[in-house]
């Protein structure tokens, strides 16, 4: 893993090439990562919908509405991170590595949804 691998050279060339056929990474790594973000967004949507159903179950009351709004906001936060990352991965050239800040934001949104769920269980 140490040293400059041939893949890195190819990646650098890929960014400079203008022919779209040569532009493509044979392993489709950015595309696969982009789709992984899409799948994760879908999972978070499912969790958010379940959260909203749980929070408004059995009539509308203040606590339920607050938790529902919070879950919506967390879902939007996750969506924003995923959207930023997908845009970066779709751009031409070698994609930069994921920023730890974005990874942490995505994880904290997930944890916060779980905390909301724990509040609802009680």
């Amino acid at each position: 893993m140490g040293g400059v691998s041939p893949g890195a050279d190819r990646g650098a060339e890929r960014g400079a090439a203008t022919d779209p056929a040569q532009n493509r990474d044979p392993g489709l790594q950015p595309e696969r990562t982009r789709l992984a973000w899409r799948r994760t967004t879908l999972s978070s949507t499912v969790a958010a919908v379940l959260a909203m159903k749980a929070s408004l179950h059995g009539g509308v009351h203040v606590q339920g509405v607050v938790v529902c709004a919070l879950c919506c906001a967390l879902w939007l936060g996750f969506l924003a991170v995923a959207h930023l990352r997908i845009r970066t991965l779709t751009a031409e050239g070698v994609p930069p590595a994921l920023a730890p800040r974005h990874a942490t934001t995505a994880v904290l949104c997930t944890v916060a949804v779980a905390v909301c769920a724990a509040v609802l269980v009680y």
Binding site: M1, G2, S5, G7, A8, G11, D25, G27, Q29, P30, R32, T33, A36, W37, R39, T40, S43, S44, V46, A47, L50, A51, K53, A54, H57, V94, P95, P96, A97, L98, A99, P100, R101, A103, T104, A106, V107, T110, V111, V113, A114, V115, A117, A118, L120, V121, Y122
Partner: protein
């Protein structure tokens, strides 16, 4: 423990990671990112399972329902926190050219999921009997 605190600091400080070692092939970083996302999906599925237990098993006794739901939610929280921690550790190891970190977390998670599954079976059978 000190290593863990150091890792938590790195979650928020991108520039400190890129100061260490050399940048690996971007494909390795993307593979690491996909692994992170897969763990995050696992965490989201566990949290969704917690909601589902709470919502769709209304005939369970409260203690069982809350216990199962909270166990699934706690597993989801652990899984997501561990996802970002493992991602940071792998990223650092790749930059320094070290071996990737090993982990007993997958084994622990499998055992926890198995225990929850057995508990569900017991609860359903007890529900039929009672």
């Amino acid at each position: 423990m000190i290593d863990f605190v150091r890792n938590v600091q790195l979650w928020f400080a991108p520039q400190e990671i890129s100061e260490e070692g050399r940048t690996p092939d971007y494909r390795f970083s993307l593979a690491n990112e996909r692994t992170f996302l897969a763990w995050l999906r696992t965490a989201l599925a566990l949290i969704g399972g917690g909601f589902a237990v709470d919502q769709f098993l209304p005939h369970l006794r409260w203690a069982w329902r809350a216990g199962l739901a909270l166990a699934l939610l706690a597993a989801g929280v652990l899984c997501s926190l561990r996802a970002v921690n493992h991602w940071v550790r792998c990223e650092r190891a790749m930059r320094r050219g070290e071996d990737l970190p090993v982990s007993r977390f997958p084994a622990l998670l499998s055992i926890a999921v198995a225990i929850v599954a057995v508990a569900m079976v017991v609860v359903v059978i007890a529900g039929w009997a009672g």
